[in-house]
Amino acid sequence: MKMNQNSAPVYEALQKFRNMRVVPFDVPGHKHGRGNPELTAFLGQQCVAVDVNSMKPLDNLCHPVSVIREAEMLAADAFGAANAFLMVGGTTSSVQSMILSACKRGDKIILPRNVHRSVINALVLCGAVPVYVNPEVDTRLGISLGMEREQVQKAISENPDAVAVLVNNPTYYGICSDIKAIAKMAHDAGMLCLADEAHGTHFYFGENMPVSAMAAGADMSAVSMHKSGGSLTQSSLLLTGENINSGHVRQIINLTQTTSGSYLLMSSLDISRRNLALRGREVFAKVVSMANYARDEINSIGGYYAFGSELINGNSIFDFDRTKLSVYTRDIGLAGIEVYDILRDEYDIQIEFGDIGNILAYLSMGDRPQELERLVSALAEIRRLYEKDKSGLLSQEYIDPEVVTSPQEAFYARKKSVPIKESAGLVCSEFVMCYPPGIPILAPGERITKEILDYILYAKEKGCSMTGPEDPDILNINVLV
């Protein structure tokens, strides 16, 4: 970092603005909260008073030239990027802008199948065609891992016309591919390397973390500041490297981003970036030590397996994010989603998600040891009270998708609705996923198989929250005519 990271230009401009007591004859209509006393009482005067519109002293997110531009330069400096863009439409908008900047209709993009739905949504928007690299699967844990270098190389060699390779850095479970090697392979083949770092903000600031995308030489990265970075929900950053034309990226962002960017979100990005740059190292050392402690405690209960860096194998698990607290639960005879439900319903503990075999508790800068003790004790109690025979639990296998047509073609093609149970063999035109983690089981354009249907029905039965299809009950599914 070369710039003075003590400053927070958007935040400072808002403070100044507040002290000037400017008379608002502009939007928003609540006028610093006066027009909506109930909202003001709920959110607080401090908060609504800075929910304001773009104006000269506060810059404009669509075409930043002053304080927003400075905040973006500071963010770029802090993250080691050439450019950074403040984003207010969630990391979904960062991912979509990244893909729309890199691909156009008909272009191929190489990516692992365990991408977030926002990635495939971007393909629906731009018409690019996915080339999936089979992520390795840990058969015991039932989770998708990273991409192996050889598999990526094979995909690149077989698709020399592809324009980009996308890497999850890390996956929801904290698993990293060898992004540095993958970025080099992509560049050697004249392709861009893109990173989904929705779960990787802390890689830029913590010590002994997996390598960040920018440090690994990737060209663009979507970073969820609102996850481990501590900013408000829906705020995010898009980072770009030296080889990317930032003016083009700005144009792409402006295709879909609001023209009324929220200053609450932008100031939260600014303040959080400053905090990370100044104190990130200590903050994340604390998170890692809490996660390590919790792993040891959970593993000493017996029956559970809280996995960590022992999984690292140099390739499909090139590195592991030690701040992630994932616990394999099937050995106590409970699906992860069942433990997730019991924790919430019986113990008032809300964790990030449960899938078939695992739960994930999200640890961050906001956690304290006493709450961790509650989580560990609750898990010990759940084992004591609910442990079952583990036979009869379905294991989670990677199901290799058969891409019949591009997501965009499938999404816009003529389709009909059929009962899901009778859909085997047909081509799906919509998404089916468990949420969270929001990784599609089926994406538009993929062949529906019996295996996939079994999995969907099992996940539904175990209580996974399924989303995607037009039919909210997921009894019917849209398929190509």
Partner: protein
């Protein structure tokens, strides 16, 4: 000059005590600890601004949380006390020769230090050789225990601070698991009077009643606590707090008390109608 300590018992109710001297004020890793010297209540210990004990009325709390279970269970040898860094509960328990071991788990070593220095009477039995002191989070301590204790006394602060974890299902469940098959758990159950306290009281009663076969609530009058009216929970795997009381046996011990009597013991379980209704709602 007038110097007063004030504590909000509810958002619109304040209780004040005149102070002669502010003897101790330190912030630990967990909480703000203060000790005052006062004309009416003697020395007063507060944590995060909440009165924990006063020299004048601590006997009520300490006697009621100990003698009630001690006179019901016929043979208490192993006891776990959670919180209670001031030593008052241990002071009462140590009067029973039949007790073999008292494990005291307090999260904050500074509370103990402060009490040893400024409330020496309360802390007088902490050095008894049956007392083992552990500075630990009680949730962490207790999830390692199974079938170990005859009695667990939960002497925690309010459910709105660092002790929040001691009012949870995982905590009460771990206590159940740590008790022998005829074990008893007694906890401070807060006050039923002001709304905020009443909801917390109902919540913890609900959790305990779902875990222990016997779960009853009893009351005492404690002037410096919210509304001057305090509750204790009596949860047990086997013994009923009134039916299994053995007054003769306890009287033979010849323990002199200032609040507890075996008659009051029975009476303390007879609750006002509004409180009976509140408990019934969540049972």
């Amino acid at each position: 000059m007038e110097l007063w300590f004030s504590e909000f018992h509810a958002p619109d109710v304040k209780h004040s005590i005149r102070v002669n001297n502010h003897l101790y004020s330190k912030k630990s890793e967990f909480q703000q600890i203060d000790i005052f010297d006062t004309p009416e209540f003697g020395r007063v210990l507060t944590l995060d601004g909440n009165v924990i004990l006063t020299e004048r009325d601590e006997f009520i709390y300490d006697e009621m949380i100990t003698h009630v279970p001690m006179s019901v269970h016929p043979d208490i040898k192993d006891i776990l006390v959670i919180g209670a860094g001031d030593g008052g509960v241990v002071k009462e328990l140590a009067r029973y020769d039949t007790v073999k071991r008292i494990d005291l788990v307090e999260m904050d070593p500074m509370v103990l230090e402060a009490c040893r220095e400024y409330l020496p009477e309360n802390a007088s039995r902490l050095d008894d050789d049956r007392v083992y002191i552990y500075f630990d989070n009680a949730l962490r301590f207790i999830r390692r225990c199974k079938d170990e204790y005859d009695l667990i006394i939960v002497d925690s602060t309010d459910p709105f601070g660092p002790s929040e974890g001691y009012f949870t299902r995982e905590f009460y469940g771990s206590c159940y698991n740590a008790l022998h098959q005829d074990g008893i758990m007694v906890n401070q159950q807060g006050s039923p009077f002001f709304r905020h306290d009443a909801l917390a009281m109902q919540r913890s009663h609900h959790l305990i009643a779902n875990i222990f076969p016997v779960s009853r609530v009893y009351q005492a009058h404690i002037p410096t606590y919210a509304a001057g009216y305090w509750l204790f929970g009596f949860a047990s795997k086997k013994y009923h707090p009134v039916d299994d009381l053995d007054p003769e046996k306890w009287l033979k011990l010849n323990l002199e008390t200032n609040y507890y009597t075996t008659k009051l013991h029975v009476g303390a379980f007879y609750l006002p109608a509004f409180l009976e209704r509140m408990l019934m709602e969540v049972e």
